[in-house]
């Protein structure tokens, strides 16, 4: 059905374009200079006028058709099923399955007739939608055609439609973000304040508790498990791994960017930069088993030669590999901003008798600082949000520690652990994931805010 609809809409648009352009051409009679808009703009405008009402009719009509079909199916059911919401829902699902040719058991006569009702109502509704949509499209088309004239400003009118389209896209993007935030905030509120949720912590316990153990007792014989939702070990774990990652990626990324931008010959640069960027394309799950199977045992062995007690899954291994993951973010973006520093500033510094490294340290890097800060902030956001490497290399143990050789866990890993598998969405354990997500979102927001302030403070204008 949707296929037919798409076909009709496309046909209407093509026809609208061709007809309006042809009409504009004949109206102009070769005198395009005297015409306000070129014929193709008349065509585009009319095609849009055909498309918009047809699309709206389809979006609205398919909803109404579905609703009416469901109503007609319900009306075929006996009264006792109609009055019981659960049985009504089950019967409806069965009826819809019959219509779609899905798996059906032995259906009762009532359900069979409901299915027949549903099917006929749906197909009628869809045909009516199609007819209405085609009519609406035709109306738009003919209105567009009637406006074709020497003086009609089709170019400006089409411009307005493009403007509207861009506005709609931007609005959808923003609303999606707002929607996600609201859903997380809503579930977080339930986690803390919904009286129906058992075993939940207070806000204070959550934010300042030092024990994290969301594994509630599921069976009676596990009764001695102490459930705790203290968030601090996760925060320290996240910060520890992020700090290690930045300690690895910051110098490596920044210095390689300086080398690429200031010292490397164009040939070296043309090879080295793409190779560095390939690093960004390695899936984190691959980096994760690299961390778990190569780096972690190596760090462990290396620690043992110094007599250190290293956990087989350590924050250090995860942090180092995560640092490798974010090197390309820092190096590539920093390289771009360093290149954007005007050559005149470098010339000014050289002309003062400064060496290359003095020029880079005292003129180029300060001038590029806002961009470098945003590169670091992007890298930090990536590191905080990274899950897979930590799952594989740093373990799940929520230790409250700043020792990089211990196993730690992070906020994202716990979210993933909590939500893997079958979950009830009304237990404190599951809702804890939303609370964690909210805190994570908040932390990243604060970081971005700080970054924005830093960038604004140090932004320099050079023309």
């Amino acid at each position: 059905m949707a296929g037919w609809y798409a076909l009709v809409v496309v046909a209407l648009m093509l026809a609208g374009f061709a007809l309006a352009r042809g009409r504009a051409q004949s109206v102009a009679g070769g005198n395009y200079a005297g015409m306000h808009s070129l014929p193709s703009y008349h065509g585009l405008y009319t095609a849009s006028l055909a498309f918009i009402p047809a699309l709206i009719t389809f979006l609205v009509g398919s909803q109404i058709a579905g609703y009416l079909a469901t109503q007609s199916a319900i009306s075929a059911l006996p009264n006792d099923i109609q009055s019981d919401i659960l049985r009504q829902g089950a019967a409806l699902r069965e009826a819809v399955n019959i219509v779609r040719g899905g798996p059906v058991g032995a259906a009762s006569a009532e359900v069979q007739s409901a299915a027949a009702n549903y099917s006929s109502a749906l197909s009628a509704g869809q045909w009516i939608t199609l007819a209405l949509g085609a009519l609406a499209g035709l109306a738009g088309l003919s209105w567009g055609l009637s406006r074709v004239s020497m003086n009609f400003r089709a170019r400006n009118a089409f411009e307005k439609l493009v403007h509207a389209l861009l506005w709609i896209c931007a609005t959808i993007a923003v609303l999606t973000t707002v929607g996600i935030v609201f859903s997380v905030v809503g579930e977080t509120y339930r986690f803390f304040f919904d009286p129906a949720i058992k075993g939940k912590p207070t806000v204070f316990e959550f934010l300042f508790g030092t024990e994290w153990n969301p594994q509630a007792a599921m069976r009676a014989d596990q009764g001695d498990i102490q459930t705790a939702y203290g968030f601090l070990p996760l925060l320290t774990g996240t910060l520890l791994i992020t700090v290690i990652a930045i300690a690895v990626a910051g110098p490596l990324g920044l210095f390689s960017a300086i080398y690429l931008a200031e010292y490397a010959s164009p040939r070296v640069r043309s090879v080295a930069k793409p190779v560095l960027e390939i690093l960004a394309g390695i899936p984190t799950v691959v980096l994760g088993f690299f961390a778990a199977l190569t780096v972690a045992p190596y760090i462990r062995g290396w620690g043992e030669t110094f007599g250190l007690n290293v956990a087989s899954e350590s924050a250090l291994a995860a942090g180092v590999v995560m640092g490798m993951m974010i090197i390309p973010f820092i190096s590539s973006l920093s390289d771009d901003v360093i290149n954007a520093v005007p050559q005149s500033l470098r010339d000014g510094s050289y002309a003062m008798g400064a060496t290359k490294s003095e020029t880079i340290r005292q003129v180029v890097l300060p001038a590029a600082l806002p961009g470098i800060v945003s590169a670091f902030m992007l890298a930090i956001s990536r590191a905080i949000g990274e899950t897979m490497i930590v799952v594989m290399a740093a373990g799940l143990a929520a230790n409250l520690t700043f020792n990089p050789l211990d196993a730690v866990t992070t906020i994202t890993v716990q979210i993933k652990t909590i939500l893997v598998g079958d979950q009830e969405f009304d237990s404190a354990k599951t809702l804890a994931a939303f609370a964690l997500g909210f805190v994570l979102f908040f932390v990243t927001l604060v970081l971005n805010f700080i970054a924005l302030k830093v960038v604004q403070k140090y932004r320099e204008q050079y023309d």
């Binding site: 000014g348 003062m352 005292q362 001038a367």
Partner: protein, 272 residues
């Protein structure tokens, strides 16, 4: 320091009106190539010290290229190759034993477009003294900054906001800041590459007054598109055309009594 011109150089330079002041910069048969392009052909010239020498000529004639040879800024252009001899105080500045970084501390440069560093006004001027260790204390550095800004006649305008960013000044103030920055390392020679081309007439007049004051202490070489400017500020003028140094002499001679037909055509506005 021996200020007398090298007799060998005097013999081979082009015939020109005898100068009373000693020669500071001497160029002999200088050729510059950008890749395959021969940008400057066999240029020989003597530049007297403590005066303003103007390089004039149409766009692309090589005057800026030659200017950038004198502080070896052309070294930063990978494809550029310089042949011939350029001496300052009788010493070859392309001698491999000479460090171009140290040369540039003696030969300051002011660019076409004001290019203050994105730092405070104070730090802009203190940049050179800090790099070269010219001051032993904060007090001494303050003195260098103040006297440089005074010499660039910018002090009165900025003395209350030395910590504001140098990029927030107006175009003319920025250019005077760049001159102050250059003066702060006390160079012997100041090169100016069309220093007023991005400025309005009032700012231009102030820079020109400044040049007149500075020439008593520095050897100044200025590249300019404006013949009026060359006539106003310079004592000697050199006319470049198509990579060739056509004529050089005292400014009054060049503008009133040029010997070469091309010079005459250019200053009377027939081309350029």
């Amino acid at each position: 320091m021996d200020m007398r011109p090298d007799p060998l150089i005097m013999m081979t330079t082009q015939a020109q009106a005898p100068t009373t002041t000693p020669t500071k910069v001497a160029a002999k048969n200088v050729n510059v190539y950008y890749g395959a392009k021969h940008a400057l052909k066999d240029v020989s010239v003597d530049i007297p010290e403590k005066s303003v020498t103007a390089f004039i000529g149409p766009s692309g004639c090589g005057k800026s290229t030659f200017l950038r040879c004198i502080n070896r800024m052309n070294d930063t252009v990978a494809s550029c190759r310089v042949e011939g001899l350029i001496q300052i105080d009788g010493k070859d500045i392309y001698d491999p034993a000479l460090d171009p970084v140290q040369l540039r501390a003696r030969v300051g440069m002011v660019f076409q477009k004001p290019n203050p560093f994105p730092k405070s006004i104070y730090d802009n001027v203190a940049y050179g003294p800090r790099i070269h260790g010219l001051s032993k204390s904060k007090v001494e550095l303050d003195q260098i900054v103040e006297s440089s800004l005074r010499k660039a006649s910018l002090w009165e305008e900025v003395k209350d906001r030395l910590n504001d960013s140098g990029t927030g000044l107006s175009g003319g103030q920025q250019q005077r800041l760049c001159i102050a920055r250059t003066i702060a390392i006390n160079p012997e020679i100041i090169l100016m590459d069309e220093p007023c081309s991005a400025l309005d007439p009032i700012a231009t007049a102030r820079i020109e007054e400044l040049m007149e004051e500075l020439r008593h202490n520095f050897t100044m070489i200025i590249v300019t598109h404006s013949m009026q400017q060359a006539a106003r500020v310079s004592q000697r003028t050199a006319f470049f055309h198509l990579g060739i140094l056509v004529e050089t002499g005292s400014t009054s001679d060049i503008f009133t009594n040029p010997t070469d037909k091309r010079t005459q055509d250019y200053i009377t506005g027939r081309f350029g």
